[in-house]
């Protein structure tokens, strides 16, 4: 609507210009007219450049999202006629124990996907950045980014094998004489969620470390030297200089990992499928189950909309916090 308004807005101007200069020869008033229509044409052409991006984005991302919002107001099994139920599906999200469990687990995953890797990344980056030589840094980066590159399905299979009853973890425990601690980790009501969460920690810790390491290289070494003159130890240096000055990197790490935690699906689908019982269900798994097996498309859609709103709010808050002056 607004684009159309702006496109047509300059149109009346040439007419008044022409009527004011009636007596002049045609060559004189031809010029402003072509300039104006040229500008109009340029703006239209600029929109044409945007069209190939706007079209698939609108048709296959935005409209489906709006369609999900529409479906969330209906009770629909995917086959028979849907019936309008208003906000009932949203009310169910607040009361249904399974849906509430999914929300809790998503929160717990933030601990494993965001908080833990960021802490590990910050501390290790602070330690590594004090290293004088830079030899081998490229190799380290290559290896630490590997978990970022391979599909999460493959990550899940990798760790199913590590966590298996005869897997690498239990074998290591037996080898150091802690055989009594072995467990079928992914099948345990107590351990499945932390076990899955730690896979997420494994995936993003290296990324966080490299991100913070590249951030520390930006920090002026003189600040550290000045702090050392004032008698600051490594811990003070870390809390008073490194962490505050890494604010932009912290914002990137937080938004990447929080989105990954809240919208996790692949990893859990492969490792536990949400089980045992409901001990690892997350919103993504429930949306999949309800919409494509449970015949509850409306509730699944409502859950998807809530998830989108929560993710958008989280991203917004993180960006706000990162822009505030330290």
């Amino acid at each position: 609507m607004t684009t159309a308004d702006r496109l047509t807005e300059p149109a009346p101007a040439p007419r008044t210009a022409r009527s004011a200069k009636r007596g002049a020869g045609p060559a004189v008033h031809r010029r402003p007219r072509t300039v104006r229509s040229g500008r109009r044409r340029r703006r239209a052409v600029a929109l044409l450049y945007l069209l190939p991006a706007l079209l698939p984005y609108t048709l296959f991302a935005v409209l489906p999202l709006l369609h999900t919002a529409y479906l969330s107001l209906f009770d629909w099994d995917g086959v028979t006629l849907p019936s309008f139920v208003g906000v009932d599906n949203y009310r169910r999200i607040g009361t249904d124990p399974q849906l509430r469990a999914a929300a809790w687990h998503a929160g717990a995953l933030i601990l494993f996907f965001s908080v833990l890797p960021i802490c590990v990344g910050l501390v290790s980056a602070a330690i590594v950045s004090r290293r004088a030589g830079r030899r081998g840094t490229a190799l380290v980066r290559t290896v630490l980014f590997l978990p970022q590159v391979i599909p999460l399905v493959a990550v899940g299979i990798l760790w199913r094998w590590v966590y298996g009853e005869d897997g690498t973890l239990n074998q290591a425990l037996r080898a150091v004489g802690l055989g009594g601690l072995t467990d079928a980790w992914l099948g345990s009501f107590t351990w499945a969620l932390p076990a899955v969460g730690l896979i997420g920690t494994w995936v993003v810790s290296g990324l966080c470390m490299v991100l913070f390491l590249s951030g520390t290289q930006r920090i002026d070494q003189e600040i550290y030297e000045a702090a050392r003159m004032d008698g600051a130890g490594p811990v003070r240096e870390f809390t008073a200089i490194t962490v505050p000055l890494l604010r932009p990197e912290l914002a990137i790490a937080l938004s990447i990992t929080v989105i990954a935690a809240l919208s996790s699906f692949d990893l859990i689908y492969i490792t536990t499928g949400g089980g045992p019982g409901n001990s690892t269900v997350v919103p993504g798994i429930l949306i999949y189950r309800l919409a494509f097996g449970g015949g509850a498309v409306g509730v699944a859609s409502a859950l998807a909309i809530v998830l989108t709103v929560v993710i958008s709010l989280a991203v917004l808050v993180i960006n706000r916090l990162s822009r505030e002056a330290p």
């Binding site: 703006r43 991006a53 991302a61 004090r130 290896v143 590159v149 094998w161 989108t308």
Partner: protein
């Protein structure tokens, strides 16, 4: 180890107390790095060893196989159908990556240098897509594409991926074109170059790093995408490699050597692309790119 003493003397003041601190500091960095690398590599090594075990043998986590049983790989490739799955993944990536890169480049160029009506609002509208999770588009995508006969087809999945990848691509290319000198664009315009010629002849030749990074990221995302092919392609024989792997896990989860070999086959192409273009991939991810 011998170099430790010589470097500590340069990095720290000479008092004895701080020298011991510096020595532990010198050692802490390599130890931390080694721990990180081991944590990443041990699970991979464990899977690699498992893939070389004889089929059906009882397995424990980290054990050397008796001989190298490469037949797991040939079984995964042909009998388990991963050769076909890999081909569909390649087809999807070949459709998605060039198309998405071109669309994102055109839009990023327009938003950064041309006079776009409603520029701010259009850009904000595109950026909104950065926080749309796949879960909240996949339900209607399935029902609408089924109604249009696009489920189980390459165009259906490719279009869904292109739509999902647009926001980051436009963001990335706009940021790139915004850093190019205005004088270059204005000089081209004064010489009478059209906006089209300015983009292709003046700006793109020096934009290769940015375009390559976007292409590599798109390839990795397209290859790794799981939920979209799982839902939009219901025919197991036509799925992409990761989706096929997910299906396979449910069916043959007990045959660990076969599953391990299949996993390695599925990750090989993406790891190769990564090793070849790692600088591009890392710079893209460090600027905040994560999808799928």
């Amino acid at each position: 180890m011998t170099s430790t003493t010589s470097t500590t003397s340069t990095t720290s003041p000479a008092s004895p107390a701080s020298t011991t601190g510096a020595v532990t500091g010198r050692l802490a960095a390599p130890v931390v790095l080694a721990l990180f690398m081991a944590a990443v590599l041990v699970p991979f090594a464990s899977l690699l060893l498992a893939s070389l075990q004889p089929a059906g043998a009882p397995l424990t986590g980290f054990a050397l196989p008796d001989g190298l049983h490469f037949e797991n790989f040939s079984r995964a490739w042909s009998a388990a159908g991963f050769g076909t799955l890999l081909r569909s993944s390649v087809v999807i990536a070949l459709c998605v990556v060039p198309a998405a890169v071109v669309c994102a480049t055109l839009a990023g160029y327009a938003l950064a240098t041309l006079e776009v009506p409603g520029r701010g609002r259009l850009y904000a509208y595109l950026l909104l897509g950065l926080s749309i999770p796949t879960e909240s588009t996949v339900i209607p995508l399935y029902y609408d594409m089924r109604a249009l006969g696009l489920t189980n087809t390459v165009p259906g999945l490719a279009l869904a991926e292109i739509g999902a990848f647009m926001p980051f691509g436009v963001f990335w290319m706009r940021a790139h074109f915004a850093t190019m000198p205005r004088s270059l664009i204005e000089a081209a315009r004064l010489d009478g170059a059209s906006s089209w010629a300015t983009l292709w002849r003046i700006l793109l030749p020096s934009s290769r790093p940015a375009v390559t990074t976007l292409g590599v990221l798109y390839f990795v995302w397209s290859w790794n995408q799981f939920l979209l092919p799982l839902i939009l392609i219901q025919d197991p024989a036509r799925r992409t490699a990761p989706a096929g792997l997910g299906f396979f896990t449910g069916q043959y989860g007990v045959d660990v050597p076969l599953l391990a070999a299949a996993t390695l086959i599925v990750i090989a192409p993406v790891v190769l692309v990564y090793l070849f273009f790692q600088r591009h991939f890392i710079s893209g991810v460090l600027s905040g790119a994560l999808k799928g």
